[in-house]
């Protein structure tokens, strides 16, 4: 089989190009595999909040497939330019076009198989290792992984699709040129790119529409299609804008003679402009990956940060016991005895009587009792005297005024209408008697009314008594003590709240989401690092010759270093700016997701975003500096 031999020969001969291609492509296979394996090989779907996680993962997968397809396509165009010369030679030696097609087909199939094998092995190993190490780091989460072949099959199918497109494109390229051109084609150096105003405008429009969609839609099942459209538009727009805008920018810089004819700018601007088509695509990939790192990190760190917030909202004191009647003296004595046993000191306990929470929905300012799939809230009421006593406050209320404690909701109305009456609302930030009734998943609203009669009017249900106190001792003792109290008093678990038990509960619930976020971030950081590295190395080899010539003419080592720095710096900032811009428009979507988990807190989101961006910029700088060294070493030796 001559064709196979020739295909192999091409692959080995141009190993300077084909090895990086295999390398970067395998990374894409790996990332796609990890996403697929999280969707199909884990129990994430059945996990609490799993549906949302699954939804986000699927969006992430589409995002990755798009970037993978685009960057593979770009990389292959460069490779096929090299190949054309060989094919021209074969054609002159008497191979027919059919033979050439076979060679192209075989070569791409070889690439495909190599990348799939390397990528899958890396993906399986990486996800196994990640699961093991993160499990030991975070403690046991409720997330488990089972190995099935399904993700592998999907990965193989997805990349088969990408490669079939590439092969068809290559065939089409073969058809258009005759052997003489084929031969000459690769010896022609790349022409200086033209600026494409139309494409730039198209890119900007695509970006804007994508942004608009992402800002406006709410993450519900029905909006999945819209989200995909938004992602496609943003990805396509980013590539177009980066490719066209960077060329235009460099052209403008070049026109400015005072800027251009400076030693550093002169070399860097012309170097970048010369291969901006590849450069733009690479920068777009880096920018999009940085965006995904930011989104994943911000979402998962917000979850961790929000978790403590949520615990404090749901159980403001360490232990809270809810019962139909006030605690008996014997019960109190038992608690004190247990506290001694577990070396726990207790704070003064307090008790509030609130009406039994009733479930319902809020539409506008109306609270409607209702218990079905739409239920979002529970509402209960108490009188002002109890509240002022408990919180040590001095509020005064008229009959038509209430205080409202509704953590985790953004209720902006000035009035609330319950049971046919409307009250003026004043929001309060603290209520130490708060509890989550029966540990339901709904958001609790507590309404403080002027007197017990109005409290009853608001929520005509019998009273329940919430007995709460803080405990001091080691974490382990506090947890043990909480469990012991619950057992001794034979309180139903649903009416017993301990901060420590709550923490464990939440940890199990959000652990898997956090895990997912960290895993995605790590994968993306690795991918970005490798792409930046690959970019620097390949550019290093491309520029080596130029720098050698310039060194002969009189460019010193020091000036070489300066020129490289200027070149790196100009392109270095673009992806980060792009990523931050993308992030700003992704924030509303993150906000909606966090709201689903009732964890939306503007302050946390802003602080986390700011920190994450800073961390990313710092690590990006480190990566870039390190890889610039690699570039410099290649160029100057």
């Amino acid at each position: 089989m001559v064709q196979l031999k020739l295909a192999l020969h091409n692959l080995v001969k141009s190993k300077n190009q084909s090895l990086p291609f295999i390398f970067s492509n395998s990374i894409w296979v790996t990332i796609t595999y990890i996403f697929l394996s999280m969707i199909y090989n884990t129990n994430i779907k059945t996990n609490s909040y799993g549906a949302v996680a699954n939804y986000i993962l699927k969006l992430g997968l589409i995002f990755i497939i798009l970037i993978a397809a685009l960057s593979t396509f770009y990389a292959e165009r460069l490779l096929s330019k090299q190949r054309t010369q060989e094919l021209g030679l074969y054609s002159m030696l008497g191979l027919t076009r059919r033979h050439l097609k076979q060679i192209v087909l075989l070569e791409n199939s070889l690439f495909y198989m190599i990348c799939i094998i390397i990528g899958s092995v890396a993906g399986i190993t990486f996800s196994k290792l990640a699961f093991m190490s993160l499990e030991s780091l975070l403690g046991t989460t409720s997330l488990h992984q089972n190995f099935t072949l399904l993700p592998l099959i999907y990965v193989a199918a997805i990349f088969a699709g990408i490669f079939i497109l590439i092969i068809l494109f290559d065939f089409w390229g073969l058809k258009r040129v005759n052997p003489i051109n084929l031969w000459a084609k690769s010896s022609q150096p790349e022409k200086e790119p033209k600026s494409h105003t139309l494409l730039a405008v198209l890119g900007i429009i695509a970006l804007l529409i994508g942004y608009c969609i992402s800002v406006m839609i709410k993450p519900t099942g029905a909006a999945f299609g819209q989200f995909i459209i938004a992602i496609v538009l943003v990805v396509a727009g980013s590539y177009l804008v980066f490719i066209t805008a960077s060329i235009s920018l460099l052209k403008i810089l070049k026109k400015n003679q005072n800027y251009y004819y400076k030693p550093n700018h002169f070399i860097s601007v012309s170097n970048m402009l010369y291969r901006m088509k590849q450069n733009g695509a690479g920068l777009a990939s880096i920018s999009l990956l940085c965006t995904s790192i930011l989104v994943a990190l911000i979402a998962s760190v917000s979850l961790v940060e929000g978790q403590n917030n949520l615990i404090n909202l749901w159980s403001p004191v360490d232990v809270q016991i809810v019962s139909k009647a006030p605690l008996s003296t014997t019960a109190k004595q038992t608690i004190h005895k247990l506290a001694n046993n577990y070396q726990i000191t207790m704070s003064q306990s307090h008790m509030v009587a609130v009406t039994t929470p009733s479930m319902g929905i809020l539409s506008g300012k109306h609270f409607k009792p209702q218990f079905n799939t739409k239920t979002e809230y529970t509402l209960s009421s108490l009188d002002l005297r109890q509240y002022n006593h408990l919180q040590n406050t001095n509020y005064h209320l008229k009959d038509n005024e209430v205080l409202m404690y509704a953590p985790g909701t953004n209720y902006l109305q000035r009035h609330i209408s319950v049971q046919g009456r409307t009250y003026k609302v004043k929001r309060i930030k603290k209520f130490n008697g708060a509890f989550v009734y029966s540990h339901n998943i709904y958001k609790s609203i507590f309404i403080v009314a002027a007197n017990p009669t109005i409290a009853k009017q608001l929520n005509p249900h019998s009273y329940v008594y919430a007995q709460g106190f803080n405990t001091h001792g080691t974490k382990w003792h506090q947890k043990q003590f909480a469990n012991a109290v619950q057992n001794a008093l034979k309180v139903d678990p649903s009416n017993f709240t301990s901060k420590y038990i709550m923490r464990d509960l939440l940890k199990a619930m959000f652990g898997s989401l956090l895990f997912m976020g960290i895993l995605i971030s790590i994968v993306m950081i690795c991918a970005t690092t490798m792409i930046v590295y690959y970019k620097q190395v390949s550019e290093g080899y491309a520029d080596k010759h130029n720098y050698q010539i310039m060194s002969k003419i009189g460019l010193s080592q020091k000036e070489t270093r300066k020129a490289i720095q200027s070149q790196v710096l100009t392109v270095f900032t673009l992806p980060i700016i792009g990523a931050i811009l993308n992030l700003i428009f992704a924030l509303p979507a993150i906000k909606s997701v966090l709201t689903i988990f009732s964890m939306y807190d503007l302050k946390i989101l802003v602080v986390v975003s700011f920190c994450t961006i800073s961390v990313l910029i710092i690590s990006y700088t480190i990566i870039y500096l390190a890889t610039t060294n690699v570039y410099r070493n290649i160029v100057s030796h």
Binding site: P189, K191, N258, Q557
Partner: protein, 214 residues
Amino acid sequence: MGESGAGKSTLLNIIATLDQPTSGEIMLNGTDLSHLSENESSQFRREHLGFVFQSFNLLDTFSNRDNIYLPLVLSKKPHQFMDNKLKPLSKILGIEKLLDRQPSEISGGQKQRVAIARALITDPSILLADEPTGALDSNNSEKILNVFEQINERGQTVLMVTHSVQAASYAQRTLFIKDGKIYNKLYRGDQSRNQYLQKIIDSLTALENNEEVD
């Protein structure tokens, strides 16, 4: 002149400060070139030397104009200065129409003329040319050599390494190198080019036959 491996290019590289001599010293305008630091030698190359290579060594990333400007840009000369320098030079070399094209769009002979412009734009003390006609056909070679002769008449020193007796016959003085040593030297004086060519051929034959020539 000399055979392959005789040490012609090594000598040229040492004069160009790209290489260090194992012994002896190289003096140019009273400067000892063998003890320059990396930075000094870069600056020296830029300010005092012009290079013309066999393989042109134009940078594909620059237009022809920018290729010629390169050494001046490295010396931080203002744009107007470069422009003024280039005008007369491009006329002599006949490359006015090529300036705004890319090196990839012009022929070998044209490339070499652009390369000569790049070498001359700094007014170098000495122009070093390593087989400048080696990759050119005879017609283009002749053009290049004529250019060298012209600029030489205007007072520009040109040091050219070559295999070709044709090329050597354009020189005012020819040194023959064998095994790293200067074996013989010829002066053209008032001889015609053909007479001088014959003398070079004789000398070369003698060199190959290992004879001592007076």
